[in-house]
């Protein structure tokens, strides 16, 4: 699969790597280069006496380079991919040299070993004991949390802007101690409310009530259905063994990476990838958590197509998933055959999802024939029935969206809730373009 320049650059770990990668997309830098269906490789003359051996696994975009850089992917990997994207004619199809062959073979062996590893027996009694201890801790934490929430509503929320960061930080830490990291994150998010914004109260109360719903639901967990139990538990921070998840039958499809977003949290980089299944019409969120300097297991980039089997986390609204296996795919002829027709359908879908999971987060949707319009000095997206939803104020690329669509209706991918959405991509000339 040939990635576009923008897609390649979105794999770069930082701006400096992008720039260095672009500089290396120059045929003069490469002593040798080659490609076949599995891999792309090249030898780049660096400052050392021997050229660096750079290789890219094209079946599931992965990089390896003999350079000493700690960045991943390194500038050589990016440069090689960029050169291929810019001047494909320079790469002749040939057999892989030994050093590429070795790496590709090792990658296949590793995959096999992973499967074997999963077969090891587990001490179920010890596991159950640990689980029970944790649940007790969580219950105690939640009791404290509910008292704290009640204090807030008893005293009124108007005094909250004056409270310092410690107010939120302390309760968040308490939840970490109670091994309820999900609740800890929700409290941090509450504290991150912009109290200077006019009308902050409504958004704040929405988040507070979600927190309350999760906490209160946990106290009644035996009375709710099994899938909702899983939702409550994962919102609190209970994890699911991903290896077990991988054992389940997944959803196979050609998936389009609609968008990607990364944020730094303490020592972690949290990467969100929103996927859309072209045939199943399903959406998925793939999360990756990488410690600083750690290599991502999956290199996804906006607008990329992958043939993959995804295993969804058990939920009343299946959304978060892991990739069981994948290979990069060519751009299909018919990219979007089924999607939402307009805002009314989105509203109905949201109602359905909310009825199943009242404390869910925003989700992406692919909607046909939306056009950006200016109404009352604000940007909106209008469907063919004349229905409007606001574009979120933090959306920075409105002019790019306008330039791509020219004011004509276009199929768009959006993410948001209720009546506010952020465009993440649009189809232009039958090509998906991230915005």
């Amino acid at each position: 699969m040939l990635l576009t320049e923008d897609q390649i650059l979105s794999l770069a770990p930082d701006e400096a790597s992008k720039k260095a990668g672009r500089d290396l997309a120059n045929p003069a830098k490469w002593v040798s280069k080659g490609i076949n269906e599995q891999a792309l490789w090249g030898e780049c003359q660096g400052s050392g006496s021997k050229p660096y051996q750079t290789q890219v696994d094209l079946t599931a975009i992965a990089f390896k380079c003999s350079c000493p850089s700690r960045k991943f992917p390194c500038k050589h990997g990016l440069g090689l991919l960029l050169l291929r994207a810019r001047q494909p004619g320079l790469f002749s199809t040939s057999n892989m040299p030994q050093w590429v062959n070795d790496w590709i073979s090792k990658r296949s062996e590793k995959e096999e070993k992973k499967v074997e590893k999963a077969d090891k027996p587990v001490d179920e009694a010890a596991q159950a004991k640990r689980q029970q201890a944790r649940e007790q801790k969580v219950s105690a934490g939640i009791n404290e949390l509910l008292v704290w929430i009640k204090d807030i509503v008893r005293n009124g929320i108007l005094s909250l802007p004056e409270k310092g960061g410690a107010y939120w930080e302390n309760m968040s830490r308490r939840m970490v101690d109670a091994q309820a990291t999900g609740l800890a994150a929700m409290i941090k998010n509450l504290g991150a409310t912009n109290f200077w914004n006019e009308g902050w109260q409504s958004g704040f109360m929405g988040k507070l009530l979600q927190l309350y719903l999760v906490a209160e639901s946990y106290r009644h967990i035996p009375n709710i259905n099994e899938l909702l139990q899983q939702d409550v538990r994962s919102a609190i921070g209970f994890t699911i063994n991903q290896e077990e998840l991988k054992q389940q039958t997944g959803t196979k499809d050609t998936w389009l990476v609609l968008g990607k977003d990364s944020r730094e949290e303490q020592q972690l980089t949290i990467e969100q990838n929103w996927l859309y299944g072209l045939n199943t019409n399903q959406y998925a969120l793939i999360l990756q958590f990488n410690a600083k300097g750690q290599v991502s297991t999956l290199s996804l980039t906006q607008g990329m197509y992958i043939d993959a089997e995804l295993a969804y986390f058990p939920s009343s609204v299946p959304y978060r998933a892991i990739v069981k296996n994948h290979t990069t795919a060519r751009r299909p002829e018919n990219q979007v055959t089924q999607c939402f027709k307009g805002w009314q359908e989105i509203a109905e879908q949201e109602t359905l999802l909310n009825s199943r999971l009242p404390f869910r987060n925003e989700m992406p949707f692919v909607v046909a024939s939306l056009k950006p319009v200016l109404y009352q000095n604000q940007w909106w997206l209008q469907d063919t029935d004349g229905c409007l939803c606001k574009i979120t104020a933090d959306f920075k690329n409105i002019w790019q969206l306008m330039a791509i669509t020219g004011g004509e209706p276009a199929t768009m991918s959006i993410i948001g809730k209720e009546n506010e959405y952020r465009p993440i991509g649009a189809w232009y000339n039958n090509n998906y373009q991230a915005v």
């Binding site: 672009r22 008893r154 009124g156 909310n354 200016l374 002019w399 020219g406 232009y428």
Partner: protein, 493 residues
């Protein structure tokens, strides 16, 4: 939704205080609210939170989008020209990542010449660039098509697309726009520009007058003289200086005639018989008349040469005067052809030859240039007046003779350098990598021909300490030349 508003109001006050009225509970959830209210074991806060959570979820599920059918249709007109190729678009993307305005200008120039358009997705970036760099605006307008014009109507920051008719801009524009439109009009219709300025002259302030007069330097000629001569009585010194500068470049103006009058009495070609009449002895006498009109010293002619000049005050005055009259004056004065005039000056008053060169530049006497090309002096103003092969030969010869500032002057070339000159210049640049650094090449990449890429590898700085710095510059230069080459190839230029 009223019920949600009530929830927010109650949250602001706090449940510890009396609630402001009762919420208007929608009928769909009224029964559930009643159950919550009836629960005796629940405290006040729990009841509030449960009702709030219920109403929150009801609100989320009941969302209906706003509907408007009367919004004005606002879409870009279809393009009448084709978009550039994907290859060309890819090159532009790389240029934009490099943030190189010089290459961007080259790309836009070629795109515009080919009658093609930039792809829509790149328009916001190039429109932003042109907002900051006015020189790019005509090119960006040309390459943005109808979609660019449509975007500019939506975003006031890109308002430079809306071009008013020249005359309206002259009447109503800001000082910068007026100066620009006057200069453009002067280029295409010189009398019209003069007429416009004449009409508004009395309403302009001194600063504007001085600024607008500069536009008259373009295509100045005898038709300007009557009005310009009348402006010599202006009060503002800056205005007067500008008028003087204009008059000094128009043959036949009172100032030029005054200079010619002095020179006709000061510089004379003498032909005397020698060797019993068998030979003619030629000389040029350079002597100012005993009394000259002192007013010339108020027109910019300096009276004193200065202690370090190495020439007398009289020679200095004559040098300036020779440089300030049209070269054709000497054809009459010496009764000779231009070639002979140059030869006479060269042989019999060589220190004045370069003054003649200055006069050639000042009065655009381009047909005189060939007679001075082989002389020792280097005339920077000649380079854009020569045909390209001659220009490059002239630059190369001057560079090889070690004349200082040739490279600096060559940066003013309006067209790309020839390969041979570029190669020799590049060798000098290699020796001074901190002066000719990456920023320098970013600015002047337009002038450097792509043909020298293959020769750059062979060039090294003579000083071993400079080789590393030059190596980095060279790498950067090769990258820029590569992009330039790709741009030209993408448009078959």
């Amino acid at each position: 939704m009223r019920a949600w508003e009530h929830i927010i109001n109650a949250a602001m006050i706090g449940t510890g205080k009396p609630m402001p009225g009762n919420p208007e509970i929608p009928g769909d959830i009224a029964a559930i609210v009643d159950v919550i209210e009836a629960e005796e074991l629940l405290d006040k806060e729990s009841k509030y939170l449960q009702k709030a959570a219920l109403i929150y979820n009801y609100r989320q599920c009941g969302f209906t989008p706003l509907q408007k059918h009367d919004l004005l249709l606002n879409k870009a007109e279809a393009e009448t020209r084709q978009y550039c190729s994907d290859t060309a678009a890819g090159v532009l993307n790389t240029i934009l990542h490099e943030d190189n305005l010089s290459l961007m200008e080259l790309w836009l120039t070629n795109c515009s010449k080919s009658g093609l358009l930039a792809l829509p997705n790149v328009l916001p970036v190039i429109l932003d660039k042109a907002q900051k760099d006015a020189a790019l605006q005509p090119l960006v307008i040309a390459c943005s098509g109808n979609r660019g014009a449509w975007l500019s109507r939506l975003n006031p920051a890109w308002g430079y697309f809306s071009v008013l008719p020249d005359e309206e801009l002259w009447q109503t524009g800001n000082p910068e726009q007026r100066t620009k439109v006057l200069a453009n009009t002067r280029q295409n219709n010189a009398p019209q520009a003069l007429e416009w300025l004449h009409q508004t002259w009395d309403q302009e302030n001194a600063a504007a007058k001085a600024e607008l007069l500069k536009a008259l330097k373009i295509n100045s000629g005898p038709d300007d003289l009557p009005w310009l001569e009348s402006l010599l009585t202006e009060k503002g010194q800056k205005v007067k200086d500008e008028v003087m500068a204009l008059l000094k470049q128009i043959p036949g103006s009172s100032i030029v005639r005054q200079y010619e009058d002095i020179l006709s009495r000061s510089v004379m070609l003498k032909k005397e018989k020698a060797m019993l009449g068998m030979m003619t002895k030629i000389s040029i006498s350079l002597k100012l008349p005993a009394s000259i009109d002192e007013s010339i010293y108020k027109t910019g002619i300096e009276k004193l040469a200065g202690p370090k000049s190495g020439i007398s005050d009289e020679q200095h005055v004559l040098y300036q005067l020779i440089g300030a009259v049209p070269p054709s004056f000497w054809e009459k004065q010496f009764e000779a052809t231009p070639a002979q005039v140059v030869e006479y000056f060269d042989k019999y008053a060589s220190m004045m030859t370069s003054a003649l060169g200055n006069a050639i530049s000042q009065f655009n006497a381009n047909d005189w240039i060939p007679y001075l090309l082989n002389h020792d002096s280097f005339y920077p103003d000649f380079i854009n007046k020569l045909p390209l092969p001659e220009r490059d030969k002239y630059l190369l010869r001057s560079l090889n003779r070690g004349i200082p500032n040739v490279i600096h002057t060559a940066l003013n070339c309006s067209q790309q350098w020839g390969t041979e000159f570029a190669r020799v210049a590049m060798q000098q640049m290699a020796n001074h990598p901190y002066e000719y650094n990456r920023a320098f090449f970013n600015r002047h990449i337009k002038l450097i021909p792509t043909e020298i890429i293959s020769q750059l590898e062979k060039l090294e700085a003579k000083d071993i300490n400079m080789q590393s710095a030059w190596g980095k510059n060279r790498e950067h230069l090769i990258k820029l030349l590569g992009l330039k080459q790709q741009t030209l190839k993408a448009f078959n230029a």
